[in-house]
């Protein structure tokens, strides 16, 4: 399969962030045309395109938009989720920093289709300071051209976008955590139902959409649903950005039609494993996704196929681990992440993630016990599905899959009090733990 340039068509152009470059390539024409269409027609086209959300869950976008009640008592909001913090994921950053107007155009169309009030927000993670600066500048350019603000494109409709910076919390990438954070609260996810499409931010119906999803929208309206479906397979359509990192020769963001196989992506396009070492495991969809073994990677990277293989495509953050990586250490690092990022609201997740981190650390230090592997599975069973949001389920993904697939390596740590020969621990064990 050959790489394509749809979402990434502009990023290599000089001055790719400037509105003039974007307009030269036909930019904002689709938004202008969309404002002359009926909103029902726009939603129908997006439904027909079978676009699925690119943030992780893969929920059909058109269906999400059609859930929004019209004439709700409170204003409807569009929120763009640019809180890209899933370890292994760095695709939205490319669009934000290199082609911000594509995102803005997508937001104008989406906001019009859902009947948004005149203000939408881009929730960008606080660490992306440069990205926020690029977006603010792009928004100003769009306002100066009359594409945002009062009476945009002369359509009589007012619409503007505000960049809302987060402040360093992974959980704010969760839909309702993000909504809480926009409202000025701690980013603790809400009980669902009511779903955000009915009661979301500031009490109004809310659509939260990932950057890459919104970036697909102008292309769908411009070229039609059939064109979009020509990429990928039924139910898993469109161009997709894949982020590859870890032990590969050429890490980076790659764009392919949805459904390139993991094997082809790693070996044909990313140049294979660093130092031509042997592959040990691949995480196909960000830190939350269960690990896959080398014999499992001949697998199309689309939502359904990866799900069928027992993992998930998630945000398509592919982390490649080679034979030198100590699996216990790698899983410990991921558990540490989830323990740190748990919002603390639900007991199973708050206590469980910290406990899993401690047990993995103890195994890595050679202080583990024979029953620890089973204890981890038992604990995972008590975390999964027992918290309000998906963070708890995400935290157990790497733990369960690694214990099941690398049980011998866990036992080796317990029996021999050291890592498997040929594998490496990347940290020193005598470092004091920093106060978080």
């Amino acid at each position: 399969m050959e790489p394509i340039k749809v979402l990434t068509a502009n990023i290599d152009k000089p001055n790719s962030t400037s509105i003039d470059t974007y307009i030269e390539g036909g930019g904002y024409e689709t938004a202008r045309a969309a404002l002359g269409m009926k909103w029902e027609d726009i939603i129908q086209i997006v439904k027909d395109s079978e676009l699925r959300g690119r943030g992780g869950a893969g929920f059909p976008t058109g269906m999400k938009w059609s859930f929004v009640p019209r004439n709700a008592p409170r204003p409807t909001y569009l929120l763009c989720n640019a809180d890209e913090a899933e370890p292994g994921t760095f695709k939205d950053r490319v669009i934000i920093e290199k082609d911000p107007h594509l995102l803005i155009e997508g937001m104008i169309i989406a906001a019009y289709a859902i009947g948004s009030n005149p203000m939408a927000y881009i929730y960008i993670r606080g660490e992306f300071h440069y990205g926020a600066t690029v977006l603010v500048k792009a928004l100003e350019e769009a306002r100066a051209k009359g594409f945002l603000g009062k009476d945009i494109f002369g359509s009589g409709w007012d619409f503007d976008i505000t960049v809302h910076r987060g402040a360093g919390a992974y959980i704010c990438g969760e839909e309702t955590g993000l909504i809480e954070s926009v409202e000025g609260h701690r980013g603790q996810p809400r009980v669902k139902p009511p779903f955000p499409a009915v009661v979301g931010v500031f009490g109004g119906p809310t659509v939260v959409q990932n950057v890459e999803t919104l970036a697909c929208v102008p292309f769908i309206l411009k070229n039609g649903a059939e064109w979009f479906k020509s990429f990928g397979t039924p139910k898993n359509t469109g161009p997709k950005l894949y982020c590859v990192s870890g032990k590969v020769k050429k890490p980076g963001v790659y764009e392919f039609p949805m459904g390139i196989t993991l094997k082809e992506l790693i070996y044909d396009h990313c140049g294979g494993i660093t130092g031509d070492k042997k592959l040990k495991a691949v995480i196909p969809g960000g830190a939350s996704a269960p690990m896959l073994l080398p014999e499992e990677i001949d697998l199309p990277l689309n939502f359904d196929a990866v799900m069928k293989a027992g993992s998930m495509l998630g945000s398509a953050g592919i982390i490649v681990l080679d034979e030198t990586v100590c699996i216990v250490d790698a899983v410990w690092r991921l558990s540490k992440f989830f323990a740190h990022e748990s919002c603390g609201q639900c007991t199973p997740c708050r206590e469980g993630t910290n406990w899993m981190e401690s047990i993995l650390d103890r195994i890595e230090r050679g202080e583990g016990r024979q029953q620890d592997a089973d204890l981890l599975l038992d604990m995972a069973d008590n975390i999964g599905g027992k918290s309000l949001c998906a963070l708890g389920d995400a935290a157990i993904g790497p733990v369960i899959s690694s214990v099941k697939k690398f049980r011998d390596e866990y036992l080796h740590h317990v029996t021999h009090k050291s890592c498997l020969p040929g594998t490496k621990r990347y940290r020193r064990l005598d470092m004091p733990v920093g106060a978080h």
């Binding site: 370890p87 360093g168 409202e183 609260h185 470092m431 004091p432």
Partner: protein, 176 residues
């Protein structure tokens, strides 16, 4: 302020000193007023306002918590709850340069811990502490979204990608 138990270790750090007052200078005041116009509620302006405060004063002191709570009609407890929830708000003074080293998985397998441990050794600080000269604070942080160019170190607002111990040393020379 309510009486504090003398043994309370947080007494000094957590409660505002009535002798110290904070107030936005003219320009920041204007930015604050602008922030308020972008949201339908005053409370929603809290996180952008705290960003503004941190930019001005370097960290979020108890005095700032009280000041902001007054500005936005919120309780100080509410504001403090938000400050303590989000990692990027510093609750104690930090160095001129925050060295935020990502050590999450992709960075870890690209030897990010070497950089982190080297920084702690060279600057003679424990993690999350500030050097005595007040120049650097070394922080271990979670994924910065730059895994394709790992390892990454964020110095204040700027990303430094594809780092190594040598490149970190060279960068430190520039950060004085």
């Amino acid at each position: 302020m309510a009486d504090l138990h003398p043994d309370n270790p947080y007494a000094k750090e957590r409660f505002p000193d009535p002798q110290k007052t904070v107030e936005f200078p003219e320009e920041a005041r204007k930015r604050f007023e602008h922030i308020l116009t972008r949201y339908p509620t005053r409370e929603a302006a809290l996180i952008p306002t705290l960003h503004l405060c941190q930019e001005l004063w370097g960290w979020i002191s108890p005095e700032i918590v009280h000041y902001v709570s007054g500005l936005l009609d919120l309780s100080p407890a509410n504001v403090f709850g938000v400050v303590s929830f989000y990692d990027m708000f510093d609750q104690k003074p930090v160095g001129k340069y925050r060295l935020r080293v990502c050590t999450n998985l992709s960075c870890m397998v690209s030897n990010a811990y070497d950089i982190y441990e080297h920084l702690c050794d060279r600057l003679q600080v424990n993690p999350h502490e500030t050097t005595k000269d007040g120049l650097y604070t070394v922080l271990e942080v979670e994924c910065l979204g730059s895994c394709g160019t790992a390892p990454v170190v964020q110095v204040n607002n700027d990303y430094h990608e594809n780092m190594s111990v040598e490149r970190m040393d060279a960068l430190l020379e520039k950060l004085k």
